[in-house]
Each structure stands twice: as structure tokens, then as C-alpha cells.
Symmetry: C2
Amino acid sequence: MPGERRSPRSRRIPEATVVRLPVYQRILAELLRAGTTTVSSEELADRAGVNAAKVRKDFSLFGSFGTRGTGYDAAFLAAQIEHALGADRDWPVVIVGMGNLGHALANSDGFRSHGFRVVGLYDVSPSVVGTSVGERTVQHLDELAALHTAATPPAAPPATPRSAQPAAPPSTPPSAPSAPSAAPPASPAPIGVIATPASAAQSVADLLVAAGTDAILNFAPTVLVVPPGVLVRNVDLSIELQAMSFFLARRGGGSSRHDLRTGAGTS
Amino acid sequence: MPGERRSPRSRRIPEATVVRLPVYQRILAELLRAGTTTVSSEELADRAGVNAAKVRKDFSLFGSFGTRGTGYDAAFLAAQIEHALGADRDWPVVIVGMGNLGHALANSDGFRSHGFRVVGLYDVSPSVVGTSVGERTVQHLDELAALHTAATPPAAPPATPRSAQPAAPPSTPPSAPSAPSAAPPASPAPIGVIATPASAAQSVADLLVAAGTDAILNFAPTVLVVPPGVLVRNVDLSIELQAMSFFLARRGGGSSRHDLRTGAGTS
DNA sequence: TTATGTGAACTGCTTCACAGCA
DNA sequence: TGCTGTGAAGCAGTTCACATAA
């Protein structure tokens, strides 16, 4: 290619690579703890359960970190990945929905390291609001509006206070809340984590967006509608289980439920 | 095209399709509840947040379910997907690790419908063993060995009690679990769900395998080593959060950690 | 007309295989 | 000699575009 030799650092990183980085990082941390200083792509691949070429290609997307004939310097590599993942920055996180899952998340290492810092816990149930989880006290969801970052002009509409009702499927999406007025995302709006029942998830997402959040991690089994520019990632705890039964069923597993099939709806 | 016109039903289904099926199914259930009888690929695609062609292709892999010019019969489609996912069969599930996550899973709809049936809850902590969760009592992990399904001959070695050592890759797999001797996989070995800390996950996996499990859903952030033939799927609650910070970091978000902020370390 | 079902093109991801370098 | 870095091939998944059928 002519002159245009762009730095690997600015290349587009495939999503598939991104989700492997945390795995590499975890393994490197373990290796470092065990005193390892150098690691080969093969060793890393074995431990991560992937192919060695994939490991090398993944890293090469960010630059040339290794030494031919030797391998990678574990500490250096770990630092590079940490930087790529943004784990050397500060990421405030709020968790909405303090049921068992919310508790699990709030207490999990994964949510308290890598730069993540839980700055707010919210719920609507009187039996949880006011209790403390870790070092924080659970607040009522109504307090969430106070999150409004400096970037949000005070003239903004007050978050459409539909507290926690079952949230009927909004046939009309909430008219794109928080239009791209003139506020660049300079202040660190917290990442919003939704750990509520599915019925409340959309309205919580609306609240989060109104409060300035532009990244949502959704654990509720529902597809969220958010304005463009808001990043959403979904984790569905039961999808993998269902995928598993799919494969098991093809394999011939599972007992047929006394050979009747459930008429499935309008029988 | 020579006579070999194989039924679409036996075609290999891409993994990507498999993990979308639960989403379609959920949406169909909602539509049915709302009284819908017919649905188009476009409607479904909108609600699932995917492309309509993808929806059609996904379904076409299983056969021709739709009616041109009209769409899909929602109830019929739902039944087909339910069958494909094996949700019309019975899938016993055991959950190991009854911390907050284990509780969340045990109580979640996703683990109590779609054919899944929680048949055992295990932990080692005296403060949890004996308590009841839902309709079941948490048992000590030691009881897990009693799971041995009928298919397992009583002469089987007693689970190789390697508590929590690194679990060297078993060069000799434990004699091909349930060889096609005379016992086809008729007895439903439960699906094992690991919701323990990472440090315990491998030894729990070993116990599960010894007890006859051939499918493990692992929530611990660790790569499990299991004999061939054992299906493992991983869900890491924090990977998606880290992937999110990756994208946010590239976008220019997050505050660099030194100078301001609470230092975000050992506060 | 309307919406499915699907070949074909395309994009993205993985794996191979080997040149390049310590 | 050993292991990285990477073109190129291969495979998987997505999207297009249109023939097909109700």
C-alpha cells in the first residue's frame, strides 16, 4: 500500500478480539503472580483455550509486543492490555436493581477492579433501600435523577418519572430522550448496569439515559430501545443454558416430557 | 441436484443462530400473550434488534415455517423454536455455589422454565448448607457424588478427589463417559451450573463430571479443563463490562486515574 | 401486492504456513 | 533454533436482492 502505513494502534479491533482481552489479562495476572516473566503465544493459548495464531494476531492488532524466539514479556503485555481495555482509567458504575443478581455484581471482583468503581446502588423495594451492600447504601431509584452530570443542562426534562411499574411495551419509543444538544461527553457519566426484572428494564434505561449515562450493561432479558450514541451490551443469564439444551437435544439428551407436547398457546 | 435432498431439520445450525433462538422465543411469547397470531420477519427483527433477512434465514434452517405474503404463524413458530431448543423436554439442573449469583440463578425464570428443573443446590459454606432456596434445601457439596446416575456403574473410581489443584490436563480421559455399551444416554444426567469463586470451579467441574454430568454452564471466570465429550459453556459477568470500557476508552471516555478522583484504589 | 425462502456477494473471523528476526 | 508477526487461504456469519408463492 502507498505511503498510508497507519499505526496498528488505531486499527479497528474486531469485537471477537475485544472479548478475549479480559481472558488474556486474567491469565497474565495469574502468571505474574506465580512469578512468570515471559510467556509464549502457545502457553497463553493453552490456558485461554484458544489457538496460538489467534493469540498472536490479537496482540499484533495493537502493535508488536513480543520478542521473536522468546515470547512476550508478561508484565509489559499485561500493561498493554490493561491500557487497551481502559482498565487504567476510572469508570464509575451504578447498579440498578439490588436483588440477588445486583448483590452478586456489586460484590464481584470483576465490578470492583479493572478501573470500575461502584458509585451508586438503586432499587425501589423498601426492603432493600437503605440497606448497605459492601461500602454503599442502596438508594431509591428516584435518587437516580440526581446523577445528572455537569454536562447535562439543567433545562433538561425531568426524566419522565415512571418509577417501577411493569412498563408495558412502549409502542411509541420515548421520543429520543436527551437530543444531542451541545454537551460533549467530557464528564465521566457512570456506566449503568441494569439488574432488574425485564418488566422494569426499559424504564430504568430511560432514567439512566436521562441522567446522562451513555453506556448500559443490561442483564434483563429484554431488548432495550435507547437513543443513538448510547452503547448497550446485553448479558442474558439463561441464553447460554438454552443454547446448551439445544446442543444436548441434538445429541439425543433430555427426557421427552411424557410424550405430550405442550399445545403452545392458542391450542 | 441429485436425489440427496436432505431435510433442513438435520442441517448444521450455526451457533450464532442458536443463541438468537431464545430471543425470538421470548418475543413470540410476548406477542402471543398480547393476542398476536401472525408476525412478519420484519416485526420480529425490529423487536429482536436484528436484520429481517437474518430472521428469515435463521428460521429457514429448520424448514419453511412461514406463509408468503402473510408472515409466520406466531404459535406454530413458537412451538418449532421451543422444540428446536429442547424446551419441550425435561432438563434437570444442579447449581453449585449458592452465593448471591447461585441464588439469583436458582430463582430466575430462565432457570425454571424452558424445560429446566433445578434438582439440586450445593455449597460448602456451613452458613448456607441446610438453608432453603425456593423449594429446595442447599446440600453440602459432598452430597454431589450421590448424583451418580443409573448409567454409571457402581465400580466407578470415586471421583479422583483432587481438591483444588491446577488440574493437569487429563491425558487419559476417564474412559469415555457412557460408551455406547448398552446404556444409551437415557437417564438424564443433570446439567451442572458452576456459580462458585474461580478458585473452586475446576474441582467442582471434576466432581460434576465424576457424577455423570456431561454439560456444564460455568459462571466462574476460569477456563475449565474437562474430558472430551463434556460440553462446557462459559458466562463471565464482567467480560461484557470490560468490553464496554474498551469501547468507551476508544471513544475518549473515562478519566485518567491519577491527579483528580479519589485515587480509586484502596480507598 | 406482500412477505417468505434462498443463491450469491460480502464482511468478518479463524487458521495455516512461513518469512523474519532475536 | 525458536517463536513472533502476518499475508493468504479458508470458514462462518451477514446482508443483498430477487424469484417464488399466497
